[in-house]
């Protein structure tokens, strides 16, 4: 395995490690190993066969020679003569073999007739075959030697004269002497003089049948080795050619069926990656590949084509989804803008109105929030104020907020009182609120002439009020249930009197529940403190002070709730407050005095050209209120009651105040009677004050210095 990755290789290295080159090398290596093994086996078999053939030839020759020799000559006397002389020699003489002193002992043998015949005989046979030598000798068991009798060799350097002997291994002596005539008699051995020889022989018997000598044929294995060498050369040559041929063919085959297709796939992949980098989609690099190898490579190409198609499809889907997401994001941003634009957000909102100033702000925690504020003039004299917080966050809350905002304003614009408005909104929302969302609403209507604030609270935070000579304080008003929570919820309204200079602050829980990094809440105490720090500021300055205080408190901690605030500064109409006339009368509080009081007031009303309807309503109010004082204030005794008539101008209005010293009693504190009950279920009490509240534009009560002071006001 290469040590570096293919990407780090140069061209030469790549070629070296390519599949084709490796196949080529592997084929050559394999073929060489196989060839060598075949060679070894072949060589062995060849040597065996050749050796066998040589030995066989030598054996046959020696047998033929021996047979013929036995018939033509008796070698017994010659062999015995030499043997006798040999055995007669002492060991030291025997050691002189080859020397002339030794040969002298056998010198006369050469002249013997039978020796010469035998030698000629052997020479003739030697010439007819390609054996190395064929000769006559006997084995001497005692000295373990072969003793030559006749050798046809001409070369003096190699020729053995009669009586010459050579030492031979014991096993050869034993084998030859004890041969029983079965198989071939031979022995293979290495000699110093002749190299590797295979000696094969056949015994010759004399007339008496005694083995006297052996006809021996030597076959030189050197000859065989040289033949094997040429065989080896031929073998190696043909192997080389064959191996190379096979390797080249294998490499070519590999290149065609494996390397080329893989390279095609690789090129396609490269082109694919390039396309992707350059942002081209819809490529068909894998799909147009034509690989039909029918094997794993084709399978790979098909899988890659499938993958390419899938990826193209996936990419198309992704593009569509991304586009969709972008569209949703854009629409959400648009929704945020629309939501923000729904709320009055141009300040000063009423530059033409010197009698009040209002400022509000909303910082949503998410893109779109559920908080909202609202303010609007219901008519020239009545300012509607809304502060609300929808449950939940995000788009659902924003949609719910829209509905709530529109409903509150629409009902408010019909002139209904805050309690009625919330009742109507609640009924409307509850009628189809499957998502079970709800909204807390504080809704108030500020009478810009009198400063009377009529409000109802549907589960919202306490408003904060600062009277001109007082401090910012929470107004712990009565909470109704949240809007959208319960169909049967009823919202009770209450009244507050705002003196000119008063400031009303409304907010959502995002202010009080802003948290710092330790999880501590901002809380209403800190909020009041912040308000007090800017108590005489404009609404904008006051909101700014709270906003800064919250930001300082929160620090880097993330905010989860919207931050929504509204502040009204009630300035009042300086001219509108001037009293034109004020008249009063004090009488004993009895029913009998009601007509007198009525006449007294009517006299003033007639001066104002009061419409009959308004006058009638005022008369009824006097009947009710003075009647109440007569009945209950001093019960069971009687006491005095003062009636004061004040006329205001611009707009024209009359205010009638009833003052008594009786038991403290706030007629406005009682619940309004349920006017929807059937006759049999109706109670008789409470209707009078209810009627007064309905017909008069303002009714206020206070108990001061031991006096019940009740004022009604009617615009004329």
């Amino acid at each position: 395995m290469p040590e570096k990755s293919i990407r780090e290789m140069n061209k030469l290295e790549r070629q070296h490690y390519s599949l084709a080159a490796r196949t080529f090398r592997a084929t050559i290596l394999g073929a060489i190993i196989l060839g060598l093994a075949a060679l070894l086996i072949g060589l062995g078999l060849y040597a065996y066969a050749l050796g066998g053939q040589y030995i066989g030839e030598a054996f046959n020759l020696s047998r033929t020679t021996a047979a013929l020799m036995e018939q033509s000559v008796d070698v017994g006397p010659l062999a015995k003569e030499i043997a006798a002389r040999y055995r007669s020699l002492p060991a030291e003489r025997l050691a002189e073999v080859g020397e002339s002193s030794y040969r002298e002992v056998f010198a006369d043998i050469a002249a013997r007739e039978d020796y010469r015949y035998v030698r000629e005989f052997l020479s003739a046979f030697r010439k007819t075959s390609d054996v190395y030598d064929i000769y006559l000798a006997f084995y001497d068991r005692d000295t373990c030697a072969i003793v030559y009798i006749a050798d046809p060799e001409e070369d003096e350097a190699f020729a053995c004269l009669p009586g010459d002997w050579e030492s031979v291994p014991r096993r050869e002596v034993d084998r030859f002497l004890s041969w029983n005539g079965e198989g071939r008699l031979y022995d293979v051995g290495s000699t110093e003089k002749y190299g590797w020889l295979a000696t094969s022989g056949v015994p010759i018997r004399d007339a008496q049948g005694e083995t006297v000598a052996f006809v021996l044929a030597d076959v030189s294995l050197v000859n065989m080795a040289s033949r094997m060498k040429s065989f080896l050369l031929l073998y190696a040559l043909s192997m080389f050619v064959l191996v190379n041929l096979v390797a080249v063919l294998m490499a070519r085959h590999m290149k065609k069926t494996l390397v080329a297709p893989i390279n095609e796939i690789a090129e396609a992949a490269e082109a694919y990656v390039r396309d992707k980098r350059e942002g081209r989609s819809d490529s068909d690099h894998f799909s147009k590949l034509k690989i039909s190898t029918g094997d794993e490579v084709e399978n790979l190409a098909l899988i890659m084509a499938d993958m390419e198609n899938d990826l193209t499809e996936f990419e198309a889907n992704l593009t569509r989804i991304t586009a969709e997401k972008e569209r949703v994001g854009t629409e959400l941003a648009l929704a945020t803008r629309i939501q923000a634009d729904m709320l009055p957000n141009i300040f000063p909102a009423f530059p033409e109105r010197p009698d009040f100033d209002v400022y509000a702000s909303m910082v949503p925690a998410k893109e779109v929030g559920g908080d909202f504020y609202d303010f609007f003039l219901i008519d020239e004299d009545h300012l509607g104020l809304v502060m609300a917080d929808v449950s939940g966050k995000g788009v659902p809350a924003a949609l719910f907020m829209m509905i709530s905002k529109i409903l509150v304003q629409n009902y408010a614009m019909t002139g209904r009182s805050p309690g009625e408005v919330l009742n109507a909104v609640n009924a409307q929302i509850c009628s189809n609120n499957r998502e079970e969302m709800f909204v807390t609403v504080w809704f108030g209507v500020l009478d810009l002439t009198t400063g009377t604030l009529t409000a109802a609270n549907a589960g919202h935070e306490y408003p904060v009020l600062k009277e001109p000579d007082g401090d910012f304080e929470l107004v712990k008003d009565k909470h109704g249930f949240v809007i959208g929570g319960m169909e049967s919820a009823r919202y009770r309204e209450y009244e507050l009197k705002l003196e000119p200079g008063a400031r009303l602050f409304l907010y959502t829980d995002g202010v009080a529940e802003a948290t710092d990094s330790t999880g501590a809440l901002f809380g209403t105490d800190r909020m009041l403190e912040a308000l007090r720090s800017a108590e005489n500021g404009t609404p904008e300055e006051i909101l700014g002070a709270v906003d800064r205080a919250v930001s300082r408190f929160v620090g880097e901690a993330p905010q989860f709730d919207d931050l929504t605030m509204l502040c009204v500064h009630y300035i009042g109409k300086e001219t509108g407050k001037t009293m034109k006339t004020a008249k009063e009368m004090t009488v004993e509080a009895t029913v009998a005095n009601i007509p007198a009081v009525t006449d007294f007031v009517n006299e003033e009303l007639e001066k104002l050209d009061c419409p009959l309807k308004a006058q009638t309503q005022i008369d009824i109010a006097i009947d009710e209120l003075f009647g109440n004082i007569a009945h209950y204030a001093y019960d069971p005794a009687t006491g005095p009651a003062t009636v004061r008539v004040e006329v205001e101008e611009d707009p024209l209005a009359v205010a009638i105040t009833f003052i008594d010293n009786g038991k403290p009693y706030d007629p406005l504190a009682a619940d309004d009677p349920d006017v929807t009950l059937a006759a049999d279920e109706r109670k008789v009490g409470g209707l009078g004050v209810f009627l007064v509240k309905k017909t008069m534009d303002a009714v206020t009560y206070e108990y001061k210095d031991g006096k019940n002071i009740l004022t009604i006001k009617k615009n004329i």
Binding site: D623, G627, A679, V684, L691
Partner: protein, 98 residues
């Protein structure tokens, strides 16, 4: 206040004039109570009535409750002021107004 009373067998018609308020309401109540014996059809004619206060409403409610048990009660010739009061107080649903 004057109350014109017309009784015809089981039919009683009362027509109060002027104002029906804390002072005068007891008079109407008395007139009704005195004549109601055996009456199954009570008619209140408000043609001459200027206005009505809660004391008057209380009398009407009481009379209506009685007539619910004894027969029927009708109020007729109601002017705009009184009609509005009936409206506000829910009496328009309780009374039979012609």
């Amino acid at each position: 206040m004057t109350i014109n009373t017309t009784k015809n067998g089981t039919e009683l018609c009362l027509a109060p004039e002027g104002r029906l308020d804390t002072v005068t309401a007891p008079e109407l109540e008395q007139a009704i109570n005195e004549n109601l014996e055996g009456v199954t059809e009570l008619t209140l004619d408000f043609a001459g009535l200027d206005y009505i206060s809660s004391a008057g409403l209380r009398v009407l409610l009481s009379a209506q409750k009685k007539m619910n048990a004894a027969g029927k009660m009708t109020v007729r010739n109601v002017n705009e002021t009184i009609s509005e009061i009936f409206e506000v107080t829910g009496f328009c649903d309780i009374l039979t107004i012609e």
